[in-house]
Amino acid sequence: MREVMTKTMARNVFYGGSLFFILVFLAMSFHSVGYVVNKSTASAEITEEVALGKHVWEKHACINCHTIMGEGAYFAPELQNVMSRWGVSDDPEGAFDAMQGWMEAQPSGIEGRRQMPQFNLSDEEIRGLSEFFLWVGKVDTQGWPPNDAG
């Protein structure tokens, strides 16, 4: 083996090859950013409300119970498609009402059922969340999730 490849050769292959793959990855990332901006998220605008919704989502670390687009924690339902699950994807007012109703009803207090905390959100924040989930629901995710259950 020593004859087939020396340490110096192995090292050079490592450096050269890694650099190559880093460059390819950066080029693909660059292309992907363009695709995101112009295609997959182009159908819905990121309004101030959507941005606020994302901030509320992060402020309360919802991601550490829920998944969104399949990423996060596995304790509570997937939320990328929650608006279509609730049947309000095309109805911003209905979405707001449903979100407000849901948030007010937490925690359910049902014995033996996982609990979602009460976050005491303002109407503005709830509007932000409903707009955020409407926006997320419009992203082209290559057909995922397989069904409404998420």
Partner: protein
């Protein structure tokens, strides 16, 4: 201990083990929330417990890596650490930051504040002030270690180790970039998470393993170092484009489905190579090193990493499979065995090897240490199996049959109970490990320990 300044590593390892204990307890607590959902739910909700569990995992693994670097770089470079003082300051900053994180999460301090509040993206929830502290500490570390290496002997082990450490710190800078577009947010979030565990951390792991095998087996350095380069080459060649396995369903172009599937499937290669390499080195080596527990952990790390990352990773990495398993208990099963096998075990291996040297002793408490290996490894393996069963049920009922998430949890309950039991074994093993490192019953070999 050949070099006085290696002693720095001792304090890093102690702190790492303390945070490890917190992580284990956090995990068991999260496990409780699954089987007794009303228990304490309104005092500390599941998400807070989970953040403590995952963040403390990452913090202690990094502390272990820093300690490992401070331990092995002097031996490799054949000189003292550039500045032990800087190393202690670095540790102080990290401890302060960790305490800040725990308090911020537990008492939900300054929610939503841009500098003081938690940030709420998975794994990088730390408030901005802590992130800044981490960056400062990391820069101190990189400066300190790089100066040491530059002034001393340069080896493949320190080369690869340094590359990994520089890379992981640079990638962490993406945690300051949080675009309002969730898709871009996710895309660059994986630059940290994936390119850590399936890129830069692999470099760190491989170099620590190489160092341990060199010391424990006495195999020729030339051979070890050549294979080190070969292994890390396969790691980066597959792992960088392998990032694509997280880009299937989050709003990115469809070409990632093929690029991700093909290159992430190849990520099995470096893990297989690390395992084979470790065993071959042990068979080739003639040295009969007294620290058998360190050898057990080193071989265990290479093996369990192959199963956790390689086999369990491959299980759900092809996009046709991932379409159904994405974000289920299958992911949790894989995450646990991969993290444990690769990074927990390699840390415990270097700690097991270094502690007797740092304390000026012959290897001690070997049997207890090995028992802790089997308890932890057995527990994690069992946890992985039961979560895989749970995930299979979930995938079928939720993703194929379309049944509601909350409705199907009932049918997975039995597995959650078994996970809880497996977790108990892991935590008992961890406590035993820490005890075996800290408490020595016999007298030191020389009149006074070395410092």
């Amino acid at each position: 201990m050949k070099y006085q300044s290696q002693k720095v590593a001792y304090w890093y390892f102690l702190t790492a083990m303390a945070v490890f204990a917190v992580q284990g307890l956090g995990g068991r607590w999260a496990g409780c929330s699954y089987i007794a959902p009303n228990f304490w739910a309104d005092v500390v909700p599941f998400n807070i417990v989970r953040m403590l569990h995952t963040n403390s995992l990452i913090v202690w693994l990094l502390l272990g890596f820093f300690g490992a670097a401070y331990f092995l770089v002097p031996e490799e470079s054949e000189r003292e650490i550039h500045s032990p003082m800087l190393a202690y300051i670095q540790l102080g900053i990290l401890v302060l930051g960790t305490a800040g994180v725990v308090v911020t999460y537990l008492f939900d301090l300054f929610p939503g504040h841009w500098l003081l509040g938690k940030e709420g993206r998975e794994f990088i929830e730390q408030p901005v002030w802590v992130k800044l502290g981490i960056v400062v500490a990391s820069l101190i570390f990189l400066f300190n270690i790089t100066m040491t290496v530059l002034k001393g002997r340069k080896t493949a082990i320190t080369n690869v180790l340094l590359l990994g450490l520089w890379g992981l710190v640079l990638l962490f800078l993406f945690s300051f970039y949080n675009p309002t577009n969730l898709v871009l947010d996710k895309m660059f979030w994986w630059y940290i998470v994936h390119l850590w565990v399936e890129g830069t951390w692999e470099l760190v792991m491989a170099s620590i393993l190489a160092f341990l095998l060199l010391k424990l087996t006495g195999v020729d350095r030339e051979i070890v170092e050549k294979w080190l380069y070969v292994i890390v080459a396969t790691a980066l060649f597959s792992g960088i484009l392998g990032t694509g396995h997280h880009y299937y369903w989050i709003g990115l172009p469809s070409y990632w489905q093929w690029v991700g599937s093909i290159f992430s499937a190849l990520e099995v290669v470096p893990f297989f190579a690390m395992m084979s390499f470790s065993f071959v080195m042990v068979w080739m080596g003639r040295r009969d090193h007294p620290n058998k527990a360190a050898l057990l952990w080193a071989l265990g790390a290479a093996t369990v990493a192959f199963f956790g990352a390689g086999v369990w990773g491959f299980l759900h990495t092809l996009h046709g499979v991932n379409y159904y398993t994405h974000g289920t208990q299958i992911t949790a099963a894989h995450g646990h065995l991969a993290f444990f096998g690769a990074y927990v075990s390699v840390n415990l291996a270097i700690i097991t090897y270094a502690m007797p040297i740092l304390r000026g002793r012959d290897p001690y408490n070997q049997v207890m240490n090995m028992v802790s290996f089997w308890l932890m490894t057995g527990g994690m393996a069992f946890m992985t199996f039961v979560l895989t069963f749970a995930g299979t049920i979930q995938t079928h009922m939720q993703r194929v049959l379309g049944e509601n998430f909350m409705e199907i949890q009932e049918s997975m309950h039995l597995f959650y109970i078994m996970r809880w039991g497996a977790g108990l074994a892991v935590v008992v093993g961890a406590i035993l490990f820490i005890y075996a490192q800290l408490v020595i019953h016999d007298k030191p070999k020389s009149a006074s320990s070395e410092g």
